[in-house]
Amino acid sequence: MPGPHGFDIDSVRQQFPILDVEINGHPLVYLDSAATSQKPQVVIDAISNYYARSNSNVHRGVHTLSQQATDIYEETREKTRALINASDSREIIYVRGTTEAINLVASTYGRQNVGEGDDVIVTAMEHHSNIVPWQILCEEKGANLKVVPMDENGDLIMEEFDRLLSDRTKIVATVHLSNALGTINPVKEMFKKARTVGAATLLDGAQSAPHMAIDVKDIDCDFLAFSGHKLYGPTGIGILYGKYDLLSQMPPYQGGGEMIASVTFEKTIYAELPAKFEAGTPHIAGTAGLGAAIDFVNEIGLDNVAAHERTLLDYSIERIGSINGVKLIGNPKHRSGVISFVVDGVHPHDVGTVLDSQGIAIRAGHHCAQPVMAHFGIPATVRASFGMYNTTNEIDRLYEGVQQVFEVFG
């Protein structure tokens, strides 16, 4: 039935072929979109069509196919620019994913601008991919990694952030939407404060990009990292957005073909943006898929997706939270996309196996956020995360699945 803005869950679901797959004799209930989203047919077709009809290398050949491949590659860059409201498509750098985007910034901007005794600030709810690159940088430079703590609800303690900020702060890198708790952080406010001490800002948008419109001008971040595969696109392609002036001043990340203007054995002149950061033959098919994913998401409308997922989130908090013996982890003020919970006396891994036997795919573990688990004093949680294709009926299946866990482990 169409929703208020023409969001029709049945027609959305029909576009995802994997939803017809049976798992262990049951219709798949896919509640692991925070790990990776499923792919609509248009994305699968775009990749397949690219290889069937347009496969060639980009920016090299004078022949027609090379031009077609280049067009596909550059059209997706422009679509990405529009998606996040960047000023200039040269601010859009293709990378493998969020992890590579953050590593790129740490290795280039970070090495250039962070020195001994300086601070890099992250939050207590970062994914390991927004911790480890900064740790490596800080270790190399003799700098300090400072962590904004969170409270028992899973909200950042903003007074502590204020206290950590100083003229030694060179970079503030924070997650927009926590993959383990679903917390939406007040990043606009944080980045505004970061600017007052002259720090550069990086937004980890891996989880937020599929759930809400990200406007890099409004948030005013210096860098934004996100992955195609959580945004209904393929794996292996992701985006680093950076402000033009910053990207221009940064040294290259990797050397090779594509990123040069001229090479002699004495000296190499680097290419202009964005090519400077795109050494080697890129994941062209990935950009074909990502372009199709962005078109697909735009057609459905991220606002419609957000409204639908809000219904799912509220329903799951009420339904799963009401089960005796289930404890929801985190109760942030602003949240989206995921619920994390533990079941009394049953390890999340065992919960995951019992649910899987009923065709229900959830994530059990530390979600690459071990400091979050340590904060709540638990080794792991069960996480159900939502995509545009999920239904309240599937949350009922999860509810029944948890009842089955009690039967097995009673």
Binding site: H349, G365, A380
Partner: protein
């Protein structure tokens, strides 16, 4: 389709509810810690060895039903055995989990209850963690064991 009751057999559920040899013997001669970074399971194993035989063994840790039951079953399986026999049991158990092979001539006893884990490749590490940790303790390897 996998039947859950093959995985969570009664023996396993019993060892999970009532773990045997929980706690590390104070007068142990060998000890090691194990960790599975994939799921966060942790186990410590301590062994008292005299004249090449395992006089006492205990474990502590936290983890899923499979890892904790396997640790409990492991302590029962090696208790009182010579180091060589315990090592043979480990090899036979590993073969059971990875190949389904029971042809080694070693009587695994209750350990065979864990054969169902073979159908769940992601859970094999849970079942084997305590054994790797035990073996590491025998070798007195001070580095923590991981399943990765």
């Amino acid at each position: 389709m996998n039947d859950l009751s093959d995985l969570y057999q009664e023996i396993i559920m019993d060892h999970r509810r009532n773990p045997r040899n929980e706690g590390l013997p104070a007068d142990h001669t060998h000890t090691a810690d194990g960790f599975n970074p994939f799921c966060g399971d942790k186990v410590s194993v301590a062994v008292k060895i005299e004249d090449g035989s395992i006089i006492d063994v205990g474990f502590s840790g936290e983890g899923c039903a499979i890892s904790m039951a396997s640790a409990s079953l492991m302590t029962e399986a090696v208790s009182g055995k010579s180091i060589d026999d315990a090592t043979a049991s480990f090899e036979a158990f590993r073969k059971l989990l990875t190949d389904g092979d029971t042809s080694g001539g070693v009587d695994l006893g209750d350990l065979e209850a864990l054969a169902g884990v073979r159908a769940y490749p992601t859970r094999i590490k849970c079942a084997i963690l305590s054994w790797h940790t035990f073996k590491s303790a025998l070798e007195n390897d001070s580095a923590p064991v991981t399943t990765e």
